[in-house]
Symmetry: C2
C-alpha cells in the first residue's frame, strides 16, 4: 500500500465523460489498496472564460480579485469530480486550498508555495477517503486566495506529494511520457522509461514542454518520485527520479530543439578586463535572461562577444546595447533571429567524452554548420540556422538511437 498523488489537467477533466474516465483511473488506484490524493485543474477552458468575463467588468481588475474569481474554476472541478466518484460508490471528499492550509506568498497571480498543512488531508485519508484537491491555488497570510501562475497545478501536485511524503506523484497529461525527441517530428523517437530530474530540467528548458521547470526543481529538491503519463492511453509513462538505470550504449536521454532564441554579437570590443561584466550586468538589470555566451579573441587587442537571448527579449536587448554603444565601446552589433538551439541531454555524458564528438560528427555528415557550442555536465547545445534545425534533430537522434532501434 502506497500514498499516491495524481494530477489531471484541464483537458482531462473537460466534461462529464472525461471526468468519468479520470474517476476510473483514480478509483482503480484506490481499489489496489493505495491512499489517493488527486489534484485537479479547472475544467477545459474555464480559466480563459473567467478571464474574459472579468474583462467585461474591469479590464484592469486587481490580481487579488482575479485570483478570487479564477479559483472558483478549480473549486467547481473538484466538487464535480467528487460527485462523480461518489456516484461510483467510493468515499471521497473535495478540498480547497484554504481547507487544507495550502499557503503561499502574497504575489497574486503568480504566487509561490510557502507551506502546506497536512492535518486535514491526513484525517480524510485515515477515514479511507479519496481526497480531491484544487490545483493552481493557495492562500496567503492575509487569508486571501492566490493563484500559482503557469503550470501551477503541476506545482500543487508535487508540493503536496513532498509535504505528504507520498510514494509517487503521477502527472497525467495528453502525452504518454517523455520521448527521446518530439515524436510528432522525429522519426524513431521513443518513450523513455526513466529519466533523471536534471535531464528533465534540461529538456523542459529546451522546449520539450511536458512539465514546468519549477515543478521538476521542487521534485528534485524534495526527492519526489514523479511519473509523467497519459490519462488517455493507460500505458506506463516515464518515471522521473534521482538516479536511473541506463540502457547499455545510451549516454543520451533525448534530443531537443528550441526555436525561441536569437543571437546577438558585439564585434570589435576592446580586449580589457570588465568588458563582459559591463555587458551582462546591463542586461540582467533589465531582467533579460542570457543563455549561451561565446567569447572569441579577435585580431590585435580586440575581441568579440556573442550570446543568445529569447526572441521576446531581442528588441529590448538590441536597443539597450545600441544606447550604450559609446560606453561599451564596440565596433558593430550583429543580430540574428533565424537561429535555433539543438541539444542532447543525458546524465550519462559525464565521463564519456565521446558524446559531444558524436553529435558534431552527425552534424558534419549532414552538412549542417554549427554557429555556437555550449556544454554542461549533462547537456551539449549547438546553435544552427533555423532552417537546418529539424534536420539536425533527426540526424543527431539517428546517430544516438539508431543502433538501439535496430537491435529491438
Amino acid at each position: 500500500m502506497a500514498l499516491i498523488v495524481q494530477k489531471f489537467g484541464g483537458t482531462s477533466v473537460g466534461g462529464p465523460e472525461r471526468v468519468r474516465h479520470v474517476a476510473q483511473i483514480i478509483t482503480d488506484t484506490y481499489r489496489q489498496g493505495n491512499d489517493v490524493v488527486v489534484v485537479l485543474s479547472a475544467q477545459g477552458k474555464t480559466t480563459d472564460q473567467l478571464l474574459a468575463l472579468a474583462k467585461e467588468y474591469n479590464p484592469k481588475a486587481s490580481k487579488r480579485e482575479l485570483d478570487q474569481l479564477l479559483s472558483t474554476g478549480e473549486q467547481q472541478s473538484v466538487a464535480l469530480a467528487a460527485m462523480c466518484i461518489q456516484g461510483m460508490g467510493f468515499p471521497v471528499v473535495s478540498l480547497n486550498a484554504w481547507q487544507v492550509g495550502f499557503k503561499t506568498n502574497t504575489t497574486y497571480g503568480d504566487a509561490r508555495i510557502s507551506k502546506i498543512e497536512t492535518e486535514r488531508i491526513r484525517m480524510e485519508l485515515d477515514q479511507h477517503k479519496i481526497v480531491i484537491f484544487t490545483g493552481f491555488q493557495g492562500i496567503n497570510r492575509r487569508d486571501d486566495i492566490t493563484t500559482l501562475g503557469r503550470g501551477g497545478s503541476d506545482a500543487s501536485a508535487v508540493a503536496l506529494a513532498a509535504a505528504l511524503r507520498a510514494d509517487l506523484c503521477q502527472i497525467y497529461t495528453d502525452v504518454d511520457g517523455v520521448y527521446t525527441a518530439d515524436p510528432n517530428k522525429v522519426e524513431g523517437a521513443r518513450k523513455l522509461d526513466e529519466i533523471t530530474y536534471d535531464e528533465m530540467l534540461e529538456l523542459a528548458t529546451l522546449g520539450a514542454k511536458v512539465l514546468h521547470n519549477c515543478s521538476v526543481e521542487m521534485a528534485k529538491r524534495y526527492n519526489v518520485r514523479l511519473e509523467v503519463l497519459s490519462s488517455f492511453t493507460g500505458n506506463p509513462g516515464t518515471k522521473v527520479k534521482e538516479v536511473v538505470k541506463k540502457m547499455e550504449n545510451s549516454h543520451v536521454s533525448g534530443v531537443a530543439k528550441d526555436k525561441d532564441i536569437a543571437r546577438l554579437a558585439l564585434v570589435g570590443l576592446k580586449n580589457e578586463p570588465g568588458v563582459a561584466f559591463r555587458i551582462f550586468s546591463l542586461l540582467s538589470n533589465r531582467k533579460i535572461n542570457v543563455d549561451i555566451i561565446l567569447q572569441s579573441i579577435g585580431r590585435d587587442d580586440q575581441k568579440d562577444i556573442s550570446f543568445t537571448v529569447s526572441r521576446s527579449d531581442l528588441e529590448q536587448a538590441k536597443a539597450l546595447l545600441e544606447e550604450r554603444k559609446d560606453t561599451l565601446n564596440y565596433e558593430s552589433l550583429e543580430v540574428n533571429d533565424h537561429v535555433a538551439k539543438v541539444s542532447i541531454v543525458g546524465a550519462g555524458m559525464i565521463g564519456s567524452p565521446g558524446v559531444a564528438a558524436k553529435m558534431f560528427e552527425a552534424l558534419y555528415d549532414a552538412g549542417i554548420n554549427i554557429n555556437m557550442i555550449s556544454t554542461s555536465e549533462i547537456k551539449v547545445s549547438v546553435l544552427v540556422d533555423e532552417m537546418d534545425a529539424d534536420r539536425a534533430v533527426q540526424t543527431i537522434h539517428d546517430k544516438f538511437f539508431r543502433d538501439f532501434n535496430r537491435r529491438r
Copy 2:
C-alpha cells in the same frame, strides 16, 4: 456617518450592466460618508445552472459537495462586483464566508448561522474599503462550506448587520417595498413607509413573499433596522422596525391572501377530554403543521373539530386520520382544498375591537361566506371559498384603505 449593510439579489447582479447599476448605488452610499458592507447572491440563474451541471455528474450528489459547488456562484459574483467598483475608482475588497468566519451548523444545503466573526470586516472598513460579501453561504466547524437554503442571502445580510451592529440593513429587491396588498392584483394597493417586525412576519407567512421569515425574525431578535427597497426605481422603500408611527385612522397595515391551504373537519367526535390532544399530537408527530383550529359543540354529547393544513400535507393528514378512525372515534372526515385564507395584519389592532367587525362587514356586503375565523393580537384571518378569495381581498382593502386613498 453610519454603517450600512446592503443586500442585492441574483436578478440585481445578473450581467455587467446591472452590476454597474448596483455599483452606483453602493458607491453613492459610500460617498455620502457611510461604511458599506454589501451582501450579494450569485448572478442571475447561476445557482440553477450549477445544480443542473451537478446532475450531469451525479443526480444524487451529497449535499456537502453540492454546497462546495454552489458556493462558487456567490464567489464569482462578489469578485466581479468588486472589479467593477475598482474600475469606478473606489477602494473595495470581496470576501468569502471562510475569510470572514461566517459560521453555521453542519446541515449542508440548509444551514443555520451560528456565529459571525467581525474582525476581518472591521479591518477592511478601518481601511475605508467597501466590503463585498458572499451571501447564502457559511462554513461549519469542520471547515466545510455550507449553504443557507431558501432566502439565504437575506439571512446573511441581516445576520451580518446584527453582528456588526449596523445602523441599517437595506434589502434591495425587485419590488419597491411592502404594500397594503398585492399591487398586481388589488386596486388601490399602496406602499407602506413603515411596518413592524411582527406585521412583516404575519405578512410573510401569509404569502406576501418580500422577505423570508427567518430573516425578519432575526432582525426582530437583534433589533436590526431593515429597509426593503427596489434596486431599479431608486425610491425610498419600506422600513421594518420595532415600533412605527401609524397614520391616523389606520389600524391595519395590509391585506394578504394564502391559497396554499386545505381544510379538514372531523365530524361527530365524542365530547370528552383528550380528544383534541389525541388528534393534534398525532399530526405534530408527523411534522404536519396545523394553522387555524375551530371546535364546535354539536348536538347531544358530540362535537366537531376542523382545522387547516398546507395543501402539500393534506394527503398525509387525511391518511393518518382515516387510519386512526377507530381510536379517534369520529363519524366522518370532510376535506376541502378549494379554500383560501384572507387576513388583515396590523399592530394597531390591539385595543381596537372594531377592526375585525369592519372586516366581516366588508365580506357580508360582498356576499362572501366565512368558513372559519382565527384571530391573533395583530391579525384576523378568515377562511373563504377559493373562488371568492381575490374579491375578498379587494373588498377588505377598499374598506380599510378607501378613505385614506380618497383623502389623498
